[in-house]
Protein backbone atom coordinates (compact mmCIF):
# COMPACT_ATOMS: atom_id res chain seq x y z
CA UNK A 1 0.00 0.00 0.00
CA UNK A 2 1.40 3.40 -0.90
CA UNK A 3 1.73 6.12 1.75
CA UNK A 4 -1.09 7.92 -0.02
CA UNK A 5 -3.72 5.29 0.80
CA UNK A 6 -2.73 4.66 4.40
CA UNK A 7 -4.77 6.18 7.25
CA UNK A 8 -3.18 9.42 8.42
CA UNK A 9 -2.31 9.17 12.12
CA UNK A 10 -1.37 11.87 14.63
CA UNK A 11 -0.68 12.16 18.37
CA UNK A 12 -0.03 15.09 20.67
CA UNK A 13 -0.05 16.05 24.31
CA UNK A 14 -1.54 19.03 26.07
CA UNK A 15 -1.39 19.31 29.89
CA UNK A 16 -0.07 15.85 30.70
CA UNK A 17 3.13 14.16 31.81
CA UNK A 18 3.84 12.36 28.48
CA UNK A 19 3.28 9.07 30.32
CA UNK A 20 0.59 8.04 27.83
CA UNK A 21 3.09 8.55 25.00
CA UNK A 22 5.63 6.47 26.95
CA UNK A 23 2.98 3.74 27.19
CA UNK A 24 2.43 4.14 23.43
CA UNK A 25 6.16 3.45 22.91
CA UNK A 26 5.77 0.40 25.18
CA UNK A 27 3.86 -1.26 22.32
CA UNK A 28 7.36 -2.30 21.25
CA UNK A 29 7.42 -4.44 18.11
CA UNK A 30 3.78 -3.63 17.28
CA UNK A 31 5.00 -0.11 16.53
CA UNK A 32 6.63 -1.60 13.41
CA UNK A 33 3.27 -3.10 12.37
CA UNK A 34 1.58 0.21 13.07
CA UNK A 35 4.21 2.12 11.08
CA UNK A 36 3.38 -0.17 8.16
CA UNK A 37 -0.36 0.41 8.53
CA UNK A 38 -0.50 4.19 8.99
CA UNK A 39 1.28 7.33 7.95
CA UNK A 40 2.35 9.25 11.08
CA UNK A 41 1.72 12.83 9.97
CA UNK A 42 2.12 14.66 13.29
CA UNK A 43 3.42 13.72 16.76
CA UNK A 44 5.91 14.79 19.43
CA UNK A 45 7.74 11.67 18.24
CA UNK A 46 8.26 13.05 14.70
CA UNK A 47 9.47 16.39 13.39
CA UNK A 48 6.45 17.96 11.65
CA UNK A 49 5.85 21.49 12.96
CA UNK A 50 2.28 22.22 11.87
CA UNK A 51 -0.79 20.04 12.34
CA UNK A 52 -1.77 18.88 8.83
CA UNK A 53 -5.16 18.61 7.10
CA UNK A 54 -7.18 15.40 6.58
CA UNK A 55 -6.03 13.32 9.56
CA UNK A 56 -7.90 10.06 10.14
CA UNK A 57 -6.99 9.31 13.78
CA UNK A 58 -5.58 11.67 16.40
CA UNK A 59 -4.64 10.60 19.94
CA UNK A 60 -4.75 13.50 22.40
CA UNK A 61 -2.99 13.14 25.74
CA UNK A 62 -3.47 15.67 28.54
CA UNK A 63 -6.08 18.02 29.92
CA UNK A 64 -6.91 21.45 28.49
CA UNK A 65 -5.04 23.98 30.63
CA UNK A 66 -4.29 27.05 28.48
CA UNK A 67 -5.74 29.26 25.78
CA UNK A 68 -3.13 27.79 23.44
CA UNK A 69 -4.47 24.28 24.19
CA UNK A 70 -7.97 25.40 23.15
CA UNK A 71 -6.68 26.89 19.87
CA UNK A 72 -4.78 23.67 19.09
CA UNK A 73 -7.79 21.51 19.89
CA UNK A 74 -10.19 23.47 17.70
CA UNK A 75 -7.80 23.22 14.76
CA UNK A 76 -7.15 19.51 15.34
CA UNK A 77 -10.86 18.71 15.67
CA UNK A 78 -11.60 20.46 12.39
CA UNK A 79 -8.87 18.42 10.67
CA UNK A 80 -9.44 15.00 12.30
CA UNK A 81 -11.97 12.29 11.49
CA UNK A 82 -11.64 10.20 14.70
CA UNK A 83 -10.48 12.12 17.77
CA UNK A 84 -9.38 9.99 20.74
CA UNK A 85 -9.13 11.29 24.32
CA UNK A 86 -6.00 9.37 25.26
CA UNK A 87 -5.54 8.70 28.99
CA UNK A 88 -7.08 10.04 32.20
CA UNK A 89 -5.86 13.64 31.80
CA UNK A 90 -7.59 13.95 28.42
CA UNK A 91 -10.70 12.11 29.68
CA UNK A 92 -11.14 13.62 33.18
CA UNK A 93 -8.41 16.34 33.47
CA UNK A 94 -7.04 14.08 36.26
CA UNK A 95 -3.87 15.28 38.06
CA UNK A 96 -3.53 18.62 36.20
CA UNK A 97 -7.04 19.50 37.44
CA UNK A 98 -5.97 19.07 41.07
CA UNK A 99 -5.18 22.78 40.99
CA UNK A 100 -8.81 23.61 40.15
CA UNK A 101 -10.22 23.76 43.71
CA UNK A 102 -7.63 26.41 44.68
CA UNK A 103 -8.03 28.79 41.71
CA UNK A 104 -5.29 29.81 39.29
CA UNK A 105 -4.21 32.95 41.14
CA UNK A 106 -3.53 31.14 44.41
CA UNK A 107 -1.60 28.40 42.60
CA UNK A 108 0.60 30.87 40.66
CA UNK A 109 1.29 32.81 43.83
CA UNK A 110 2.26 29.66 45.71
CA UNK A 111 4.55 28.40 42.95
CA UNK A 112 6.20 31.59 41.65
CA UNK A 113 5.99 34.16 44.45
CA UNK A 114 5.88 32.33 47.77
CA UNK A 115 8.63 29.88 46.82
CA UNK A 116 12.29 30.70 47.37
CA UNK A 117 12.87 32.08 43.87
CA UNK A 118 15.75 34.52 43.38
CA UNK A 119 13.56 36.81 41.31
CA UNK A 120 9.93 36.07 42.27
CA UNK A 121 7.55 36.84 39.33
CA UNK A 122 4.58 35.22 37.66
CA UNK A 123 5.53 34.37 34.05
CA UNK A 124 3.30 36.30 31.65
CA UNK A 125 5.44 36.80 28.53
CA UNK A 126 5.78 34.27 25.65
CA UNK A 127 4.42 31.30 27.67
CA UNK A 128 0.75 30.39 27.03
CA UNK A 129 -1.74 31.93 29.44
CA UNK A 130 -3.33 29.34 31.70
CA UNK A 131 -7.08 28.83 32.06
CA UNK A 132 -8.60 29.28 35.50
CA UNK A 133 -9.56 25.59 35.45
CA UNK A 134 -8.11 22.58 33.65
CA UNK A 135 -10.89 20.72 31.81
CA UNK A 136 -11.22 17.43 29.90
CA UNK A 137 -10.88 17.49 26.09
CA UNK A 138 -14.61 16.80 25.57
CA UNK A 139 -15.54 20.07 27.34
CA UNK A 140 -13.97 21.91 24.37
CA UNK A 141 -14.50 19.68 21.31
CA UNK A 142 -16.41 16.53 20.41
CA UNK A 143 -14.51 13.34 21.28
CA UNK A 144 -15.17 10.11 19.39
CA UNK A 145 -13.37 7.53 21.56
CA UNK A 146 -12.30 7.69 25.22
CA UNK A 147 -9.37 5.64 26.57
CA UNK A 148 -9.21 6.00 30.38
CA UNK A 149 -6.05 4.93 32.20
CA UNK A 150 -3.07 6.59 33.87
CA UNK A 151 -1.56 5.64 31.56
CA UNK A 152 -3.62 3.19 29.45
CA UNK A 153 -1.49 0.07 29.08
CA UNK A 154 0.32 -0.63 25.82
CA UNK A 155 -2.03 -3.60 25.37
CA UNK A 156 -5.07 -1.32 25.70
CA UNK A 157 -3.70 1.22 23.21
CA UNK A 158 -2.85 -1.54 20.75
CA UNK A 159 -6.31 -3.10 21.05
CA UNK A 160 -8.16 0.21 20.62
CA UNK A 161 -6.05 1.53 17.73
CA UNK A 162 -6.02 -1.92 16.14
CA UNK A 163 -9.83 -2.18 16.26
CA UNK A 164 -10.27 1.32 14.84
CA UNK A 165 -7.86 0.61 11.97
CA UNK A 166 -9.82 -2.57 11.26
CA UNK A 167 -12.97 -0.44 11.02
CA UNK A 168 -14.52 -1.77 14.25
CA UNK A 169 -15.71 0.07 17.37
CA UNK A 170 -13.57 -1.02 20.35
CA UNK A 171 -15.16 -1.98 23.74
CA UNK A 172 -12.73 0.22 25.66
CA UNK A 173 -14.13 -0.25 29.17
CA UNK A 174 -13.57 -4.00 28.91
CA UNK A 175 -9.84 -3.19 28.61
CA UNK A 176 -9.14 -0.36 31.03
CA UNK A 177 -10.46 1.87 33.84
CA UNK A 178 -9.76 5.25 35.41
CA UNK A 179 -6.41 5.19 37.21
CA UNK A 180 -5.35 1.94 35.48
Amino acid sequence: MSERNKPRFATLWLDGCSGCHMSFLDMDEWLLDLAGQVEVVYSPLVDTKAFPENVDITLIEGGVASHEDIEKLLKIRARTKTLIAFGDCAVTANVPAMRNPFGLEAVMKQVYLDSDAIQPQVPNLIVPQLLDRVVPVHRIVKVDVYIPGCPPSARTIKAVVGELLAGRQPDVMALTRFGA
Binding site: A85, D88, V91, T92, A93, N94, V95, A97, M98, N100, P101, F102, R133, V135, P136, H138, R139, V143, Y146, P148, C150, V172, M173, R177, F178, G179
Partner: protein, 244 residues
Amino acid sequence: MSPVPITTEPVKTFKINGQDVSARETESILQAARAHNIDIPTLCHLEGLSSTGACRLCMVEIKGSNKLFPACVTRVQEGIEVMTHSERLVKYRRMLMELIFSERNHVCAVCVVNGHCELQSTAQKLGMDHVRYPYLNPQLEVDASHERYAVDHNRCILCTRCVRVCDEIETAHTWDVMGRGIGSKVITDFNQPWGESETCTRCGKCVNVCPTGALFEKGKSVAEMAKQRQFLPYLVSRREAMIE
Protein backbone atom coordinates in the same frame (compact mmCIF):
# COMPACT_ATOMS: atom_id res chain seq x y z
CA MET B 1 -33.67 -30.65 75.35
CA SER B 2 -36.76 -29.26 73.69
CA PRO B 3 -37.02 -29.52 69.91
CA VAL B 4 -36.09 -26.39 67.97
CA PRO B 5 -39.32 -24.87 66.63
CA ILE B 6 -39.49 -24.66 62.87
CA THR B 7 -40.16 -21.08 61.85
CA THR B 8 -42.47 -20.85 58.90
CA GLU B 9 -41.97 -17.39 57.55
CA PRO B 10 -44.24 -16.83 54.54
CA VAL B 11 -42.59 -17.03 51.14
CA LYS B 12 -43.39 -14.71 48.26
CA THR B 13 -43.14 -15.79 44.65
CA PHE B 14 -42.56 -13.25 41.89
CA LYS B 15 -40.50 -12.51 38.78
CA ILE B 16 -37.18 -10.75 38.21
CA ASN B 17 -36.34 -10.12 34.55
CA GLY B 18 -38.93 -12.74 33.59
CA GLN B 19 -37.33 -15.39 35.82
CA ASP B 20 -39.51 -17.00 38.55
CA VAL B 21 -37.98 -16.39 41.98
CA SER B 22 -39.04 -16.80 45.61
CA ALA B 23 -37.93 -15.12 48.81
CA ARG B 24 -38.97 -14.81 52.44
CA GLU B 25 -41.44 -11.95 52.85
CA THR B 26 -39.02 -9.94 55.00
CA GLU B 27 -36.35 -9.97 52.28
CA SER B 28 -35.62 -7.05 49.97
CA ILE B 29 -35.72 -7.25 46.20
CA LEU B 30 -31.92 -6.84 46.28
CA GLN B 31 -31.46 -9.82 48.62
CA ALA B 32 -33.78 -11.94 46.48
CA ALA B 33 -31.97 -10.92 43.28
CA ARG B 34 -28.53 -11.69 44.70
CA ALA B 35 -29.75 -15.05 46.05
CA HIS B 36 -30.66 -15.89 42.46
CA ASN B 37 -27.35 -14.58 41.02
CA ILE B 38 -29.03 -11.58 39.42
CA ASP B 39 -26.63 -8.66 39.64
CA ILE B 40 -27.91 -5.24 40.73
CA PRO B 41 -25.13 -2.64 41.20
CA THR B 42 -24.85 -0.94 44.63
CA LEU B 43 -22.45 1.40 46.41
CA CYS B 44 -24.04 2.28 49.77
CA HIS B 45 -25.33 -1.23 50.50
CA LEU B 46 -23.15 -3.57 52.55
CA GLU B 47 -24.29 -6.96 53.81
CA GLY B 48 -24.38 -6.82 57.60
CA LEU B 49 -25.37 -3.15 57.84
CA SER B 50 -28.86 -1.66 57.61
CA SER B 51 -30.00 -0.51 54.17
CA THR B 52 -30.51 3.16 53.49
CA GLY B 53 -31.06 3.72 49.75
CA ALA B 54 -28.51 6.54 49.62
CA CYS B 55 -26.73 5.86 46.32
CA ARG B 56 -29.84 5.01 44.22
CA LEU B 57 -27.81 2.68 41.96
CA CYS B 58 -30.03 -0.30 42.87
CA MET B 59 -33.17 1.33 41.44
CA VAL B 60 -35.43 -1.20 39.68
CA GLU B 61 -38.72 -1.02 37.79
CA ILE B 62 -41.85 -2.84 38.89
CA LYS B 63 -44.40 -3.55 36.16
CA GLY B 64 -47.50 -1.38 36.47
CA SER B 65 -45.74 1.54 38.19
CA ASN B 66 -43.95 4.52 36.69
CA LYS B 67 -41.94 4.96 39.88
CA LEU B 68 -38.49 3.53 40.37
CA PHE B 69 -37.85 1.49 43.52
CA PRO B 70 -34.54 1.19 45.41
CA ALA B 71 -34.13 -2.59 45.55
CA CYS B 72 -32.18 -2.52 48.83
CA VAL B 73 -35.10 -1.05 50.82
CA THR B 74 -38.07 -2.44 48.88
CA ARG B 75 -39.55 -5.65 50.21
CA VAL B 76 -40.57 -8.47 47.91
CA GLN B 77 -44.27 -8.86 47.15
CA GLU B 78 -46.35 -11.68 45.76
CA GLY B 79 -46.73 -11.60 41.99
CA ILE B 80 -44.71 -8.46 41.19
CA GLU B 81 -42.64 -8.31 38.01
CA VAL B 82 -39.27 -6.62 38.61
CA MET B 83 -36.99 -5.33 35.85
CA THR B 84 -33.37 -4.66 36.85
CA HIS B 85 -31.71 -3.63 33.58
CA SER B 86 -34.21 -1.78 31.38
CA GLU B 87 -32.84 0.79 28.96
CA ARG B 88 -34.06 3.56 31.31
CA LEU B 89 -32.33 2.04 34.37
CA VAL B 90 -29.03 1.51 32.55
CA LYS B 91 -29.16 5.15 31.40
CA TYR B 92 -29.99 6.47 34.89
CA ARG B 93 -27.27 4.39 36.59
CA ARG B 94 -24.67 5.78 34.23
CA MET B 95 -25.96 9.31 34.93
CA LEU B 96 -25.79 8.69 38.69
CA MET B 97 -22.19 7.53 38.44
CA GLU B 98 -21.24 10.58 36.39
CA LEU B 99 -22.93 12.90 38.90
CA ILE B 100 -21.03 11.25 41.77
CA PHE B 101 -17.73 11.70 39.91
CA SER B 102 -18.49 15.32 39.00
CA GLU B 103 -19.52 16.33 42.52
CA ARG B 104 -16.15 15.97 44.30
CA ASN B 105 -12.49 15.45 43.37
CA HIS B 106 -12.01 11.78 42.48
CA VAL B 107 -8.53 11.34 41.04
CA CYS B 108 -8.09 7.56 40.75
CA ALA B 109 -4.48 7.82 39.56
CA VAL B 110 -3.23 9.24 42.87
CA CYS B 111 -5.75 7.58 45.22
CA VAL B 112 -4.76 5.35 48.11
CA VAL B 113 -7.32 2.70 47.02
CA ASN B 114 -6.59 2.79 43.27
CA GLY B 115 -7.29 -0.75 42.07
CA HIS B 116 -9.28 -1.65 45.23
CA CYS B 117 -12.09 0.92 44.97
CA GLU B 118 -15.78 0.11 44.63
CA LEU B 119 -16.53 3.47 43.00
CA GLN B 120 -13.80 2.89 40.41
CA SER B 121 -14.78 -0.71 39.65
CA THR B 122 -18.51 0.12 39.53
CA ALA B 123 -17.83 2.94 37.05
CA GLN B 124 -15.92 0.49 34.87
CA LYS B 125 -18.66 -2.15 35.17
CA LEU B 126 -21.32 0.37 34.14
CA GLY B 127 -19.24 1.37 31.10
CA MET B 128 -18.62 4.96 32.25
CA ASP B 129 -15.78 6.02 29.93
CA HIS B 130 -16.17 9.76 30.60
CA VAL B 131 -18.24 12.23 32.63
CA ARG B 132 -20.61 14.43 30.62
CA TYR B 133 -21.25 16.92 33.44
CA PRO B 134 -18.82 19.71 34.34
CA TYR B 135 -16.62 18.82 37.30
CA LEU B 136 -17.51 21.04 40.26
CA ASN B 137 -13.99 20.81 41.79
CA PRO B 138 -15.06 21.96 45.28
CA GLN B 139 -12.40 22.87 47.81
CA LEU B 140 -12.74 20.22 50.53
CA GLU B 141 -10.63 19.41 53.53
CA VAL B 142 -8.53 16.44 54.56
CA ASP B 143 -8.67 15.73 58.31
CA ALA B 144 -5.50 13.92 59.31
CA SER B 145 -5.74 14.73 63.02
CA HIS B 146 -6.39 11.10 64.03
CA GLU B 147 -3.29 9.15 65.04
CA ARG B 148 -4.07 6.15 62.81
CA TYR B 149 -6.57 7.21 60.15
CA ALA B 150 -7.49 10.15 57.92
CA VAL B 151 -10.62 11.32 56.10
CA ASP B 152 -10.36 12.93 52.66
CA HIS B 153 -13.72 14.53 51.91
CA ASN B 154 -12.70 14.92 48.25
CA ARG B 155 -13.28 11.17 47.82
CA CYS B 156 -16.44 10.75 49.93
CA ILE B 157 -19.64 9.74 48.13
CA LEU B 158 -21.88 10.11 51.23
CA CYS B 159 -22.87 6.43 51.23
CA THR B 160 -22.98 6.57 55.08
CA ARG B 161 -21.48 3.10 55.54
CA CYS B 162 -19.10 4.64 58.12
CA VAL B 163 -22.03 6.17 60.01
CA ARG B 164 -23.93 2.88 60.03
CA VAL B 165 -21.06 0.57 60.99
CA CYS B 166 -20.02 2.92 63.82
CA ASP B 167 -23.58 3.10 65.13
CA GLU B 168 -24.83 -0.43 64.47
CA ILE B 169 -21.75 -2.62 64.95
CA GLU B 170 -19.27 -0.66 67.08
CA THR B 171 -22.16 1.26 68.76
CA ALA B 172 -19.96 4.32 69.28
CA HIS B 173 -21.86 6.60 66.85
CA THR B 174 -18.83 8.81 66.29
CA TRP B 175 -19.80 9.44 62.66
CA ASP B 176 -22.82 11.31 61.39
CA VAL B 177 -23.85 13.54 58.48
CA MET B 178 -24.24 17.31 58.64
CA GLY B 179 -25.58 19.80 56.09
CA ARG B 180 -28.03 19.23 53.26
CA GLY B 181 -27.82 18.15 49.64
CA ILE B 182 -24.57 18.89 47.89
CA GLY B 183 -23.26 20.64 51.03
CA SER B 184 -23.52 17.47 53.16
CA LYS B 185 -20.45 15.94 54.75
CA VAL B 186 -19.65 13.17 57.18
CA ILE B 187 -18.47 14.42 60.56
CA THR B 188 -16.97 13.03 63.75
CA ASP B 189 -18.69 13.96 67.02
CA PHE B 190 -19.96 17.56 66.79
CA ASN B 191 -17.95 18.33 63.63
CA GLN B 192 -14.77 18.24 65.67
CA PRO B 193 -11.38 17.01 64.40
CA TRP B 194 -11.39 13.20 64.29
CA GLY B 195 -8.24 13.10 66.41
CA GLU B 196 -10.01 14.94 69.21
CA SER B 197 -13.08 12.69 69.18
CA GLU B 198 -14.01 11.42 72.63
CA THR B 199 -16.30 8.69 71.28
CA CYS B 200 -14.01 7.16 68.63
CA THR B 201 -12.67 3.79 69.82
CA ARG B 202 -10.01 3.67 67.05
CA CYS B 203 -11.44 0.32 65.89
CA GLY B 204 -11.07 1.17 62.17
CA LYS B 205 -14.38 -0.40 61.12
CA CYS B 206 -15.41 2.81 59.31
CA VAL B 207 -12.14 2.81 57.35
CA ASN B 208 -12.62 -0.76 56.22
CA VAL B 209 -16.26 -0.48 55.13
CA CYS B 210 -15.67 2.78 53.21
CA PRO B 211 -16.10 1.93 49.49
CA THR B 212 -13.64 4.62 48.33
CA GLY B 213 -10.39 6.19 49.53
CA ALA B 214 -12.27 8.75 51.66
CA LEU B 215 -11.33 6.90 54.86
CA PHE B 216 -7.85 5.39 54.90
CA GLU B 217 -5.00 4.29 57.12
CA LYS B 218 -2.16 6.74 57.51
CA GLY B 219 1.13 5.66 55.97
CA LYS B 220 -0.49 4.01 52.96
CA SER B 221 0.49 5.43 49.57
CA VAL B 222 -1.15 5.30 46.11
CA ALA B 223 -2.93 1.96 45.49
CA GLU B 224 -1.61 0.49 48.75
CA MET B 225 -4.85 0.38 50.73
CA ALA B 226 -7.15 -2.65 50.32
CA LYS B 227 -10.12 -2.70 52.69
CA GLN B 228 -10.52 -5.69 55.04
CA ARG B 229 -14.17 -6.58 55.64
CA GLN B 230 -13.99 -10.14 57.05
CA PHE B 231 -14.90 -8.83 60.50
CA LEU B 232 -18.37 -7.71 59.46
CA PRO B 233 -20.19 -10.99 58.65
CA TYR B 234 -18.37 -12.57 61.62
CA LEU B 235 -19.55 -9.95 64.11
CA VAL B 236 -23.07 -9.93 62.68
CA SER B 237 -23.41 -13.71 62.91
CA ARG B 238 -22.01 -13.78 66.46
CA ARG B 239 -24.48 -11.11 67.50
CA GLU B 240 -27.41 -12.93 65.89
CA ALA B 241 -26.34 -16.14 67.65
CA MET B 242 -26.29 -14.32 71.00
CA ILE B 243 -29.76 -12.84 70.45
CA GLU B 244 -31.20 -16.26 69.60
